[in-house]
């Protein structure tokens, strides 16, 4: 039978993957408000296209954090204290981004809108970049000592490897968001989103390849799980290529499925590569955090399993329903709340 520690590792992974899949396109759309939109109306259409969803999508992150706290307190404690400053920046970014969505249209003053536009852009750009850095750090290994304390220097966290990871996640989210835009808009905006996604594909391909190659050289995860990772890597490549094909053929919903798959395969690879570790120590293998030494007691895991498996179907159910209710595309004529 599946061990509870493993199950919770999978659940935390699922929550993070769900977060990057869903909030990933929100981040992408947030960046597009500057990179794609030409005027205020287009900006509003973009923001409204994620209007009913971004809040719930962000809850995936909060739930992932809560699940880590409950199931792997040491992972939660080491990660959140060890990445203190990057997380402060992520929090600031998420704060100004969400308030930007909600408050941008509440006043007509140009400076007001300009300020919120900057907030929305930076708030959508920094979190995927920094989360990419953090996840690269998980694999690269960080100076975690025997008390599970992480005292990382600046260059432990910020170096060419982790930055490549950050940029990869950033561009991945941007492309994912642009493809999402092709699903939710019409006309010129839709065409431009598709074109931009297509133009970004080569860059994304280079980044993904580069990051995979660096991961192969710099970390042990391919040595640990070479076979299965090669398999998932191949699936990722297929999804990427097929996704490119769908974009060029304007088969937008299929393309969206593919960019989503690339995100999912990327993060699945990271989690499989780590398993059964959750954070790698660069000081000694014995100091790495694992699903066993970082975990809560058996009773806690059992209770939480029952709770999670009972609630998840409902959560997924009404989230899917919400996407169904708002399946119509946003046009200039739609009611623009934001």
């Amino acid at each position: 039978m599946l061990e509870l520690n493993t199950l919770w590792f999978i659940l935390v992974a699922v929550l993070f993957i769900g977060f990057f899949f869903l909030e990933g396109f929100d981040f992408g759309v947030g960046m597009s408000t500057q990179l794609l939109a030409k005027n205020d109306l287009e900006r509003r259409i973009l923001i409204n296209s994620i209007g009913p969803f971004w809040d719930a999508n962000e809850v995936w992150l909060i739930t992932a954090g809560g699940a880590m706290f409950a199931a792997f307190p040491h992972w939660y404690a080491t990660m959140f204290s060890g990445f203190y400053t990057p997380l402060v920046v992520v929090l600031l970014a998420l704060i100004v981004r969400a308030t930007g969505f909600e408050l941008r249209a509440k006043d007509n003053h140009p400076a007001w809108k300009k300020a919120w536009d900057i907030c929305i852009f930076l708030g959508s750009l920094l979190p995927p970049l920094l989360f990419g850095v953090v996840f690269a750090c998980f694999m690269q290994g960080l100076p975690i000592d025997k008390n599970m304390e992480l005292n990382a220097g600046f260059f432990d966290i910020v170096n060419y490897y982790t930055l490549t990871g950050g940029l990869t996640v950033l561009v991945l989210c941007l492309v994912h968001g642009l493809v999402f835009t092709t699903l939710r808009t019409v006309g010129d905006l839709q065409d431009r989103a598709r074109n931009m996604a297509q133009k970004l594909l080569p860059l994304l391909g280079v980044l993904l390849t580069l990051f995979s190659a660096l991961t192969y050289i710099k970390t042990d995860i391919f040595k640990e799980r070479g076979l299965i990772l090669s398999f998932i890597f191949s699936l990722g490549v297929i999804a990427f290529v097929v996704g490119g094909f769908f974009i060029s053929r304007k088969m937008d919903s299929w393309a969206f499925g593919m960019t989503g798959s690339v995100i999912a395969f990327s993060f699945i690879s990271i989690f499989i590569g780590l398993f059964p570790r959750v954070m790698v120590s660069s000081i000694s293998d014995t100091f790495s955090l694992t699903i066993h030494n970082a975990a809560s007691g058996h009773y806690s895991l059992k209770v939480m399993t029952i709770v999670a498996l009972t609630l998840l179907p409902f959560v997924l159910g009404y989230q899917v329903w919400s996407y169904y209710v708002f399946r119509k595309r946003i046009t200039e004529k739609s009611h623009l709340e934001y």
């Binding site: 205020d40 109306l41 209007g51 009913p52 969803f53 809040d55 719930a56 962000e58 809850v59 992150l61 909060i62 739930t63 954090g65 809560g66 699940a67 706290f69 409950a70 199931a71 792997f72 040491h74 939660y76 404690a77 080491t78 959140f80 204290s81 203190y84 400053t85 402060v88 929090l91 600031l92 998420l94 704060i95 969400a98 308030t99 909600e102 408050l103 249209a105 509440k106 006043d107 007509n108 008390n147 599970m148 304390e149 809560s296 009773y299 806690s300 209770v303 709770v307 999670a308 609630l311 998840l312 959560v315 009404y318 919400s322 209710v325 708002f326 200039e332 009611h335 623009l336 709340e337």
Partner: protein
């Protein structure tokens, strides 16, 4: 600078700020749900307008509650990693359930509510606001269950130096949460209600949309009276629970150095000298502390000196007396604000009942209602200050001290950076929120609706591009 001090300062700042918005959200969404229920039941468009108008204010407030809430969850790990390691097993579970059960619910259904006016049937749309309201209240339960563990740890055993959960049911039926939850949630309802009545009073004073705001006032004042009364009942139960489980906090909130006489009098005000451990200029009401603590006319309450000696025996050398003045005065501020709320609510309901809300000018009363918006906010804040400061030096009562709870790997410089950033952004958000509230209130429900339709019907008009 001292890490413990800085970490506490940040926790206090972020939590107090967060809790300005949370009770408003919980209370306001409940009142909006009531208004929309009237709309669905009677078909009267005015109630729909009400739900939309108050909904506008709710959404501004809600988003700030959300963004400051993410920080709440992160900061346990960021600033209190030793604490997180020690209690994650017990404390993490309610937080995870809160996210899974409540946050998903409120965030999804508020999205459906905002954007669903034209896409959902009336009844389904109404259901969405009730589910949002339910989500916010459920959220309160789980976070308070977690907090209650810190006040009165139950349902755990100590294993390898960590508190591990061994009874989930005990955790969520903790006597503490059973009194803390109703006290806090009814306080939140009261907060929303006083906001609605205060704003309505302002508009009635300015003679704007009187009918609309009279109706809003009626609904608000009814909720205000019922919930303030229930806050009082739950608060009384909470005080009695406090005597049993955290007598030191009780003694500190009474400024009681020596064990009281029997029957115990209640000290209204006192000049407390913490150095000498004595009070002067005390004003006392006989019997009242016995009644508050035990519901009887007799019984003495233990003083801090006796408790300190007991705790030294039990937990070893140390100072177990919390900051007495803060605990004492925050409690009194809370009670005073609460009493004022009850009096205002009783008079308001009386006026409504006599149908004198508008017919006779009650200017002084309406002015007080406007100022009354601040009363529940003051009471909420001082109540939490009393609860959390009064628990010191512990984070988890009897198990872990605040000093031992901090993150060893975080430097004072980092915390200073985050305090400055968070406080700056909070100040900006606070100002913006007040600005927008005033703007929406000044505009009123009718102007607002006109603008919305204009934008909708004519997107290519100038306003369409710039709105």
């Amino acid at each position: 600078m001292d890490m413990v001090f800085l970490s506490r300062l940040q926790f206090a700042a972020t939590t107090i700020f967060h809790f300005f918005f949370v009770p408003i959200s919980i209370g306001l969404v409940f009142i909006i749900a009531i208004m929309e229920s009237f709309y669905v039941k009677t078909g009267n468009e005015e109630y729909k307008k009400m739900a939309k108008f108050w909904g506008k204010l709710f959404l501004i407030n809600f988003v700030i509650g959300i963004v400051t809430g993410i920080l709440q969850e992160f900061q346990f790990g960021m600033n209190w990693s030793n604490y997180s390691r020690f209690v994650g097993d017990v404390f993490g579970a309610p937080l995870a359930v809160e996210a899974l059960l409540a946050f998903f619910m409120e965030s999804t259904f508020i999205g459906l509510w905002i954007f669903g006016w034209d896409r959902l049937s009336k009844k389904v749309h109404l259901l969405c606001i009730w589910l949002t309201a339910l989500g916010t209240t459920i959220s309160a339960f789980w976070i308070l269950a977690a907090n209650s563990f810190m006040q009165h740890p139950v349902g755990f055993e100590l294993n390898n130096g960590r508190a591990e959960m061994n009874d989930f049911f005990a955790l969520i039926t903790n006597g503490q949460v059973l009194v803390e939850f109703p006290h806090t949630v009814f306080a939140a309802f009261a907060t929303g209600a006083f906001l609605v009545t205060g704003i309505s009073a302002y508009k009635i004073l300015r003679k704007q949309e009187i009918d609309f705001f009279k109706k809003s006032f009626q609904i608000g004042i009814t909720v205000a009276l019922i919930s303030t009364f229930l806050v009082l009942v739950a608060g009384h139960a909470q005080a009695q629970y406090l005597v049993e489980t955290q007598p030191m906090k009780m003694a500190a909130s009474e400024g009681l150095w020596e064990t009281s006489e029997d029957p115990a009098p209640w000290t209204v005000v006192a000049n407390i000298d913490v150095e000498k451990k004595e009070n002067s200029a005390e004003v006392k009401i006989p019997y009242l502390l016995s009644i508050l603590s035990y519901n009887t006319l007799d019984g003495s309450v233990k003083g801090m000196n006796e408790l300190q000696a007991e705790y030294v025996q039990q937990y070893g050398e140390g100072d177990y007396i919390p900051p007495v003045k803060t605990t004492f005065w925050s409690f009194r501020i809370m009670v005073a604000a609460g009493v004022a709320m009850i009096l205002l609510a009783i008079y308001g309901v009386y006026l409504g009942w006599k149908k004198k809300l508008v017919s006779k000018p009650n200017k002084w009363f309406y002015r007080m209602m406007v100022a009354g918006i601040s009363l529940p906010i003051i009471a909420n804040t001082s109540g939490w200050i009393m609860t959390e400061i009064g628990r010191q030096p512990w984070t988890v009562f009897g198990l872990m001290t605040t000093e031992d709870s901090i993150s060893p790997s975080v430097s004072a410089g980092q915390v200073l950076f985050s305090i400055i950033s968070f406080c700056t952004i909070y100040t900006i958000l606070g100002v913006i929120m007040v600005y927008l509230f005033v703007k929406v209130i000044k505009k009123g429900p009718y102007m607002m609706e006109k603008e919305d339709t204009k934008i909708n019907n004519d997107p290519f008009a100038k306003e369409g591009f710039h709105a």
